[in-house]
Structure formats: C-alpha cells, structure tokens
C-alpha cells in the first residue's frame, strides 16, 4: 500500500472513531497502535508506554498545567466583573464606550485566562445584560462577546500557542509575541464592526449610563492592576530571556492564586479545591491528547505519510497562495468539529513541512492557524463559545447568538487576509524584540 493510501485509511478510521464519540485522546491512540500492530506485529505494543511517557515528560509541557491553573484561578474569582467595571467607568463617556469596554475586557481577560470559553463566561455575565439594558440588540450583545471571547487563544499567554510550539518545536516566547498585534488587530476589527452595526441600526453611541466621578474611576483600579502586572511581568520575563515559559507560568500561577485569596477572599477549601479540580480536568484532557498525538505522529512517520504528503504537495507545484487557501479551508473545517488543541496536535506535524516548503513563516502560520481555530469556536456544530453564551444568557436564543456571531466570522476572515497581505503584523514584534528567526 502506498503511503498516501495508508494515510487516507488511517484518517478515515480516525474520523469514524471520533464520530461515534470515542474521546479524542483514545481514538488517536487506538488508531495509531492498531496501525502499528498491522504493520509491525504485536511486539510493537511494548513501545507504547515508552512513547506516551516520553511524549509527556518534558519541561516545556510543564507550562500547560501551570497556565491552566493561573487561568482557572482568575476565572473562578470575580476578576472578570471588576475588570469590566473598571473599563466601563473609564470609558462610558466615550462614544460607543460600552462596546469598547466589553471587547477590551474580553481581550485583557483573554490574556489572563488563556481560555476562550472562560473569557466568554466571565465578561458575558456582566457585559451582555448591561448591553441589552442599554438598548443594544441582543444579537450584537451576544455576538460581540462570543467573538471577543475567542481572543483567549490568540493573545498571550495562550495554551494553544504553547501546544503549537511544542508540536512544531518552535519558540514559545516568539509565538506569544507574534500573537499580540494580531490579537489587538482583531479586537479593533471587532470594535469597529460592532460600532458600525449599532450605528446602522440607529442606536445612539452616546452612552446612556450614569456618570462616574474621577474618585469612582480610581476606586475600580486597585483590584485590576495586580492582574495586569502579572501579564506584563510574564511577558517581560519571557522576552527578556530571563526565564523559560514553564518557570514564568509556575510563578504566575502562584501569584494569581495568592491574589484571588487576598483580593477576593477565596480562602475556603471548597473554593480552592474547585480551582484545582477544574485545572486537573482541563490539563489531564489536554495532556492525554498530547501523549496520544505523539504516538499518532510517530505512526504517520513510520508509514512515511508525513513525508509523502509533503512531497506530493511539492510535486503539484501549486501557487503558494492557492496552497495557503486550501490549508486554511482544511483547518476551518477541522475547527468546526474539533477543539483547537486537538486540531493543532493532529495537523501540525503534517502541515508544517508543507508550509515551510512553500516559503511561509512558521510563526506567522501559527497566528493564521489560531485565527482559524477562533472561527471554529463561534461556528456550529461545536462552537463552544456559542453554548457558553447560551448558558449565561438564557433569554437569548441560540439562533440569535448565531446570527450575531456570523459577522465576526467575516471579521476574522478579513483578519487572515490582512495577515496574508501584511505578514509584518505578526512578525514585526518578535523580530523587533528577539531578532530575526533562525
């Protein structure tokens, strides 16, 4: 059997297992080991434990549970509410200020939590009722928060970026830097679109809310600033080359836990254990997929699938932008069904050689890939953010949320197009701070 055919066969089996609801980690593992047994016989089972263990035992992966812990500490506190209030107090006299504070709060919270659904839940709980109360249409209220929440996986520190870095052996610090400007660009695109569509529906942009005195404005800050300092601190430490991502994440997690204990008085054992239980669930789920995908990419390379696909694509000699469009389409479809981490782990080993061969930058590609995954988060059938919004705002129907989110999908596509025309949006910052990539 030719490698390409074998690869297709493996893929079909994998999709079948996923479709019947096998957990992603075990479906990947089962397909891999079954293929290896068919090719090499039963003896191959003995490498299973070693490969799985070896795939997980690396210091780089330590950052994943640590960042998850940091995020879940912040997400379980009222930090989202305070952040939202602080921004609202400062911006509510600015035209369209409510939109700005909603999306701004999303992008800052996204940085802290590194998780899209958590961002949606934290900001949406405050933001959506506030927007509807001030007469914004439900669609816009829900859609802007759903879209703003997706920024969690793009703005650093981001778990999916770490996973990409590990899967492709690229620098995590550089990936984080590459995500900053595109994250801000998307935030601006979202803001512009939201304000424009409000304007078009004849909604006045002058805030109807109350005035806040300067004293009230400053009052809102002390609870918010420590968390902002943690983000700045982490980014500084990473780019100063002072410490590794894992070290920064560990210390960041410790600080966040101490902060929520002090600021939000979350002393009780039940509150703490909830934070750790959430962390355990999320990190075990991701780590098991990482271990299994290690096995999966090993299997694909034993079958020469990875190499053959890259060669095959090269032999087609298509225009690099046509190739990029196809890759994007593929990622988009994968993102419709699978969570971002799984898509990255399964496709990165196959796609990266193709991408590099076609002359694209792996860091730039990471950003494009992540935006594709963001789209998957607000599109059916498994758009996680849609369901989160549906959960926190029961009076908005799923179809209203969907209609509201759709324009933001186009904003993200526009973002990808902009990145293709101006790759510097992603690459300028890392090159500026860390010198050109090797």
């Amino acid at each position: 059997m030719s490698p390409l055919l074998a690869g297709l066969f493996v893929l079909v089996c994998l999709l079948a297992l996923l479709a019947i609801g096998t957990p992603i980690a075990f479906a990947l593992g089962f397909v891999s080991i079954a293929t290896l047994i068919i090719v090499d016989g039963w003896d191959v089972v003995s490498i299973l434990g070693e490969t799985f263990f070896g795939g997980l035992a690396s210091f780089g992966l330590v950052s994943i549970p640590m960042f998850i812990l940091m995020g879940s500490a912040v997400a379980s506190s009222n930090a989202g509410k305070d952040l939202y209030e602080a921004l609202d107090r400062w911006l509510n006299r600015v035209p369209g200020g409510l939109v700005l504070s909603n999306l701004g709060a999303c992008s800052i919270f996204a940085a802290l939590s590194g998780s899209s659904p958590a961002t949606c839940a934290a900001i949406g709980k405050m933001g959506i009722p506030e927007m509807t109360a001030r007469g914004y249409p439900k669609e816009i209220a829900a859609g802007s928060i759903a879209a703003g929440g997706t920024l969690g996986i793009l703005i650093p520190p981001s778990i999916t970026m770490i996973v990409y870095g590990i899967a492709t052996e690229t620098s995590i610090g550089r990936l984080f830097l590459a995500g900053i400007l595109p994250g801000l660009m998307l935030t601006c695109l979202f803001m512009v679109w939201t304000i424009y569509s409000c304007h078009r529906q004849g909604i006045g942009l002058d805030a109807l809310g109350r005035r806040y005195s300067m004293a009230e404005r400053f009052q809102a800050l002390p609870r918010v600033i420590p968390f902002l300092l943690i983000i700045v601190g982490i980014l500084y430490v990473l780019y100063g080359g002072v410490a590794t991502p894992s070290e920064a994440a560990g210390v960041g997690a410790l600080f966040c836990i101490i902060l929520v204990m002090i600021i939000y008085r979350m002393w009780r054992v039940s509150q703490m254990s909830q934070i750790f239980r959430d962390t355990l669930k999320e990190s075990v789920m991701i780590m098991m997929i990482i271990g299994a995908s290690e096995l999966f990419s090993y299997t694909l390379s034993v079958l020469f699938v990875t190499q053959s696909i890259a060669e095959w694509i090269a032999s087609l000699a298509v225009n690099q932008w046509v190739l990029m469009a196809i890759v994007n389409l593929f990622l988009l479809v994968a993102g419709f069904f699978l969570p971002p981490v799984a898509v990255i782990l399964m496709t990165a080993p196959i796609l990266l050689p193709i991408i590099i061969q076609a002359g694209f930058d792996p860091y730039w590609f990471a950003v494009v890939l992540t935006i594709n995954m963001e789209i998957g988060l607000i599109t059916p059938p498994v758009g996680l953010n849609l369901y989160v919004i549906n959960g926190i705002a029961p009076d908005i129907t799923l179809s209203q949320i969907l209609r509201g989110s759709l324009p933001y999908v186009f904003c993200m596509v526009a973002g990808i197009v902009l990145l293709c025309i101006f790759p510097g949006i992603a690459l300028w910052l890392p090159n500026f701070f860390m010198g050109p990539a090797l």
């Binding site: 479709a19 263990f53 035992a57 210091f59 640590m66 069904f337």
Partner: protein, 159 residues
C-alpha cells in the same frame, strides 16, 4: 458495589493528582527563587516537576473519566436515537478500553524493566527510574477499571 468502589478509587487518585499539581507550583516557584534571586543552582526541581505533572496526568485520568472530562465529538451520538446511541457508546467505550489496556500493560513492562534493571535518570539527582514510570501503569490501570465501571453504569441505566 464494584462501581462504587472504583468511583471512590478514582476520586482518591484525583486528590493525589491535585496534591501533585499544588506541589509542582510551589517547587517551580522555589526553583525560580533559588535560581534567579539567590543565583544558586538547582538539582532536583526540574525533574521533580516534570515527573510530578506526568504522574498527575496519569493518576488524574480515571478521575477525569468519572467526571466526563475526556473531550470527544458528541455530534453524531448526541443526535442519535437512544437504541443506536447505546451501542455506539458501547463501541466507543470498548475501543477506548482496549487502547487503555494496551497502554497500561506496556507501561507496566516499561516500569518492570526499570525496576529490575535498577535504572536511574541520567542527571545529578539520579532518581530511580521506576518511580516516575509507576504512575503510568497504575493510573491507566485504574482508568481501565473506571471504564469497566462506566460500561456497567451504562448497562444498568439501560435496563
């Protein structure tokens, strides 16, 4: 009886994993303090953290299964009628169980080799290698037990 016993075992494993995660946070922070503030070198911290978190992953996996945390695509079976749905879930669980059983067995072999060969890690700390290797067969073994418990639950729920 079996189901209740296994559920408790998984809960206990989850608690151990949480303690390992807490310990890792403290050790990473201590390591950063020693390395960057005291400018001293560290010996065991890096390895400890790596292995503690790997152990937390394996030992935590039955707990995560108990709480339905291993993410899957429930698109098709979410919409299926209850008859076919049961068999699809059964098949999915059996496939997962088969993989986990192979993984646990293979992990056990690996552990056993390290144990009888007296292997250590190739660092200054020279930790006996069987210690970090044990959580794989142990945690995944319990994961298999938990899968069997889930199958029993599904079967009982059907009747």
């Amino acid at each position: 009886m079996y189901v209740r016993w296994v559920d408790r075992l998984s809960q206990a494993c989850g608690a151990v994993s949480i303690i390992l995660i807490m310990a890792s946070v403290l050790v990473v922070s201590q390591m950063v303090f020693v390395r960057y503030i005291l400018s001293a070198s560290t010996v065991w911290q890096t390895e400890f953290v790596i292995y503690a978190l790997v152990a937390a992953t394996f030992l935590g996996s039955p707990y995560v299964l108990l709480h339905k945390g291993h993410v899957n695509v429930d698109l098709l079976i979410g919409n299926a009628r209850s008859g076919p749905k049961f068999y699809l879930k059964l098949l999915a669980d059996l496939i997962a169980l088969a993989f986990c059983a192979l993984l646990a067995w293979s992990g056990w072999e690996h552990f056993h080799e390290a144990w009888s060969g007296g292997w250590t890690t190739d660092t200054v700390w020279a930790l006996p290698l069987w210690i970090p290797l044990l959580p794989l067969p142990l945690g995944i073994g319990i994961l298999c037990l938990q899968y069997i418990a889930e199958l029993i639950k599904a079967w009982e729920a059907r009747i």
